[in-house]
């Protein structure tokens, strides 16, 4: 840009600002037009790439398998073919001939909700301590968390597999909850700490002067002020726990009645016995809660994740 200005011929430098803007009139105009049109091409291209797979999922989930195999190119469903039998098949229990996703949904729900409760219960005090209280080693805590992320999750899985087997927690939803809590607490602390730091210290000091203890300040002032962010953190933890796959696979694979939805879908999609359309219904069942939560709280959630990014 600066080179451009320097190299402009003297006659144009002397001219008033208006012509000077047109130093390269055609290049400028052509580029502007390309950018204006290109921008919409890009926006729509990305929209197609992100939405079409989900539309395809929804489409296949309301078709009979025969219709898909006969006419795989069709991108809509004829009213005469529209069916919800796929959902009945996938949700009903194995005893009544279905795939048992109803049970898996309950398992996933229990695991995810319990993980949220535990992660918040542990993470809120921890985040507050890192944000406000000068304890020993406070500066190293984040470093330790970060270092743990350098190792593949499967490395931790080996000892956990052994340890949980000995404790009788493997093949058990409780074991999964413990692992998810440990995995999400660092994330929860990272998100919550940013918020606790934005609570003005003066308000908390006023509380202290008024005779509250630190715990009182945390409980009655800081938590109430940070409530929206606590909610968004909870939702984020819920998503992580709901979507998790590797540990569910390692811990629960031989106990069908304890499968989560993710594990159930991955296991059944490997077999040829279950029709693709029925599995697509399972896929919708797995995805829908996340998409509903996400669209309801998108602003809250994205703000919490990128809180540090604005500073650059």
């Amino acid at each position: 840009m600066s080179a451009e200005t320097v190299m402009t011929p003297p006659s144009q430098v002397a001219a008033p600002p208006e012509p000077r803007r047109m130093a390269h009139p055609t290049r400028h105009r052509v580029q502007s037009r390309v950018f204006r049109i290109g921008r919409w091409v890009v926006i729509i291209g990305f929209l197609i790439a992100t939405l079409v797979p989900f539309y395809y999922m929804l489409l296949l989930s309301v078709k009979p398998i025969g219709s898909l195999l006969q006419n795989p190119a069709s991108l809509w469903v004829r009213p005469s073919e529209f069916t919800l039998q796929t959902y009945v098949d996938v949700l009903s229990s194995t005893a009544s001939g279905g795939q048992g996703f109803g049970r898996f949904l309950a398992n996933s729900g229990v695991v995810a909700l319990a993980s949220v409760a535990l992660a918040l219960l542990i993470g809120i005090p921890g985040a507050y301590a890192i944000a406000r209280l000068p304890f020993i080693g406070r500066r190293y805590v984040s470093g330790i968390f970060l270092a743990a992320y350098l190792f593949p999750a499967i490395l931790m899985a080996i000892p956990l597999f052994v340890g949980f087997t000995r404790l009788g927690l493997r093949g058990n939803l409780v074991g999964l909850i413990v692992v998810y809590t440990a995995q999400t607490v660092p994330v929860a602390i990272y998100m919550l700490r940013n918020y606790f730091e934005t609570v003005p210290e003066a308000i908390e000091e006023a509380g202290l002067v008024d005779g509250l203890t630190r715990m009182g300040v945390l409980r009655q002032i800081s938590i109430k002020l940070a409530l929206p962010s606590i909610m968004s953190t909870g939702l984020f933890v819920f998503m992580i726990a709901w979507n998790e796959f590797l540990f569910a696979l390692l811990f629960l694979v031989d106990r069908r009645e304890r499968w989560t939805v993710s594990l159930g879908l991955s296991q059944l999609s490997g077999s040829v016995e279950v029709p693709t359309t029925v599995l697509m219904a399972g896929s919708v069942v797995l995805t829908l809660p996340i998409i509903i939560i996400f669209f309801a709280t998108e602003r809250l959630l994205t703000g919490g994740l990128t809180a540090g990014a604005e500073k650059g």
């Binding site: 803007r21 921890g126 209280l133 406070r138 593949p152 991955s266 995805t287």
Partner: protein
């Protein structure tokens, strides 16, 4: 330790107020440790302790069947490392992991910048578009890999059907099961690693929203003035992006590159669910999983994990040196 320090201080500070403040800080410090202790306990028990145990296991001869009775005091050996470093499978998986990581990170950042720049100026429906772009990232990995597998299915997948009907492909492309395909361009036969490219494309699709999110936040916080000044000075849109916007995004791009490299290098779910590590996509973490579950060799699995972690640390050191030399701050 803090108590001894404060006790030493106390005699020298005689005034009442200072004494009170010291004890308040001291009490805060103790409370901080208390509040932190559940976190520390959980992370130590479920993350740090297993990690250290794994490192120990990498120096022991251990099979999956033995591990139930094993204790920490098995004899130490470097046999696992010799075995891993001596196998050709390890080196080929290392190369694949590098290609996969590099390709995915570059693609994710490129798509993220493109998407963030495209929706930068306000327009009707921008909020919906933003939310839609984030869908691949928030949706469950098992569901999206299943959708991709169905869409790319050679028999009835929509991509191959459209490819054959509309673009005139002679036969369906087995995107996820073909290790090397040939691509005929101008009479040349170019070998293409089909499955590897497909999983890289999947990574680009699934994780560009992550880059998009952070870049959007940075763009929104940026001042318009330098760009307006450049416009007055006659800069073209491309110049204004290249010399004004992009330099301001560099710190975030650097951070994204580091984070994505760590995560992609250790990625397991995506490849395991898409190809199972077949057709030339056997990245390290999938190979480690196979060591563990198929060969049931815990020691070798642990040794390979440790080697991969060391490679990752070395890569990050190089990254950070480059970024620091360029004057970026992370």
């Amino acid at each position: 330790m803090s108590t001894t320090v404060t006790e030493k201080k106390q005699p020298s500070t005689k005034t009442d107020t200072t004494k009170k403040r010291v004890t308040l800080t001291q009490r805060d410090a103790r409370l901080g440790l208390w509040l932190m202790s559940p976190t520390l306990l959980v992370v130590l028990a479920i993350v740090i302790f297993p990690l250290l145990w794994s490192i120990l296991l990498s120096f022991q001869r251990m099979r999956l069947i033995q591990i139930g009775r094993a204790d920490f005091f098995e004899p130490l050996t470097v046999a696992n490392y010799e075995r891993v470093l001596g196998s050709s499978a390890f080196w080929s998986s290392l190369v694949i992991t590098f290609i996969y990581t590099f390709g995915s990170v570059v693609l994710v950042i490129f798509l993220g910048v493109l998407a963030a720049m495209a929706v930068r100026q306000p327009f009707r429906g921008r909020n919906f578009v933003r939310a839609a772009y984030l869908l691949p990232y928030v949706a469950p990995v098992v569901a999206v890999t299943f959708i991709w597998r169905t869409m790319l299915n050679p028999q009835f997948g929509i991509v191959n059907v459209i490819g054959q009907n509309v673009f005139g492909w002679e036969e369906p492309i087995p995107f996820l099961s073909q290790a090397v395909g040939t691509w005929n361009v101008l009479g040349l036969e170019i070998p293409v690693p089909t499955a590897l490219l497909t999983v890289i494309a999947f990574e680009g699709w699934r994780y560009f929203p992550f880059a998009f999110l952070f870049l959007m936040a940075r763009l929104a916080a940026m001042s318009d003035e330098p760009e307006e000044a450049a416009l007055v000075d006659g800069a073209t849109p491309w110049q204004s992006f290249r010399f004004i916007v992009l330099p301001q995004l560099m710190p975030i791009i650097g951070l994204l590159a580091v984070l994505r490299t760590i995560w992609t290098f250790n990625e397991f779910d995506d490849i395991f669910l898409l190809t199972g590590g077949a057709a030339g996509t056997n990245v390290a973490s999938v190979q480690i999983y196979n060591f563990l579950t198929v060969q049931r060799n815990v020691g070798a699995a642990a040794a390979q994990s440790v080697i991969m972690a060391l490679v990752l640390v070395a890569m990050l050191a190089v990254y950070l040196t480059i970024l620091r030399r360029r004057g970026e701050r992370i």
